[in-house]
Symmetry: C2
Subunit: 218 residues, 2 copies
DNA sequence: GTATTTAGTTAGATTGATATAACAAATGTT
DNA sequence: AACATTTGTTATATCAATCTAACTAAATAC
């Protein structure tokens, strides 16, 4: 079985591939906050276990087996986040740090029970898809808000990144998954947008925020 | 902070003291399923950290600080067991193994939330007391069933040991916490008892079972 | 196209948790 | 009391996960 450390590496490799395409040793080491030699030696270890494909100085790739294991760790993480939010009343900004630890619990019945109690949720509290028990992840291909134009009416469906700071920001603006947003204008200079939602007639959102808000058409 | 390994040692020291009085290296090593040199070196480590009192060849004792830390780990364990049983529908025979892992999660808000959602439970699913947040444990001084005599009417309040096998046995006899038991007779030869409870008019229980059933007078 | 910078690797050390082998102390038995 | 058994200790080794220092390959800049 994979140790907690190995699970964290697999998860990081999976997520970085999604976000950045190719994955390098330096990205891995900074993501996991370890030194490059540490990441390098774990990469050799994962290679030996057949979970990645790797040649010196080349990008790191997960094998099919590695992908599946990564997806199952991500499943444990996201199910936990959903459980914490839905059944224990935690805010979406609180769940990640706890899930980062609980994802390493080795107990299939525990996570199956969460899944059942939650009625087999498809997404976590940040709108990210929960892989199924076979390690298959739905691709929910939402578009970021900044790709929309004035007049578009959309619904907040997910977040591209979900740092605590960003989630606190969204809380302060009362933005939640499901919030219906109308695009009023786009500032060509800096890509910021003016939108309305709920009873807020005119809210300015920076380009950085708009890129991270993943929405679907209404 | 204490590592998961250190937490397991503290917990074992605390529980063994309760069950056996003095705690030796060999008891510790067999309880934790490690070699004696391993237990010996961890004892040195805990000594250095001021969590135990120890002199070569003498019994091991927890310091006040060690006792408090042990009690807080036990609190996390028993709160988790109660949460799993009450909120997630696990049987009392399923909760220990999961709690053995979750007890090492480092997140005060997580365990405080469990405590709150459970309405500050005083006991775990096996009737053992849950230490409070200050590390104080109530002494519920129940007596084992085998110390009772024919004619006594008692209520099952806790279990002296709670191995999966024993819990499976109790399930098979439909014995639960709260079950009201009437002592019909005691066999002087082997200490076995005949009792009645619910609609069972005459159930034989071995001495071994009767020692482990902790009851209170009705 | 050489020089500089960045990224990656190797070597070597450390720490925590574990083990086995060998020996020593304490305890139990006759 | 002597011997045998059990318990505990020390010495030494391994393994996973980490680090720093030194070096090398690749990428970028000029
Ligand atoms: Mn998360
Ligand atoms: Mn993690
Ligand atoms: Mn337990
Ligand atoms: Mn444990």
């Amino acid at each position: 079985m994979a140790s907690p450390t190995e699970e964290n590496y697999l998860k990081a490799l999976f997520n970085l591939k999604d976000e950045e395409g190719k994955v390098s040793i330096s990205e891995l080491s900074s993501t996991l906050e370890v030194s490059m030699p540490t990441a390098n030696s774990m990469v050799k270890n994962l290679l030996k276990k057949g979970l990645i494909i790797y040649e010196k100085y080349k990008p790191i790739e997960l094998t099919e087996e590695g992908k599946k294991m990564a997806a199952l760790v991500i499943r444990k993480h996201r199910l936990t986040e959903m459980y914490l939010a839905e059944k224990m009343g935690f805010g979406w900004e609180e769940v990640h740090d706890i899930a980062e630890q609980i994802e390493h619990i080795n107990s299939p019945i525990f996570f199956e029970r969460m899944d059942k109690l939650l009625n087999h949720p498809k997404i976590d509290p940040h709108g990210s898809p929960i892989p199924n028990a076979q390690g298959i992840i739905a691709d929910l291909k939402h578009k970021p808000l900044n790709e929309h134009k004035p007049g578009d009416a959309v619904k907040l469906a997910a977040l591209a990144h979900s740092s605590t700071e960003f989630l606190d920001f969204l809380n302060s603006r009362n933005l939640k998954l499901g919030t219906e947003i109308n695009v009023i204008s786009v500032e060509p200079f800096d890509g910021s947008m003016v939108v309305s939602y709920n009873d807020r007639k005119s809210e300015g959102l920076s380009a950085k925020v708009c890129e991270r808000l993943l929405v679907e058409f209404l």
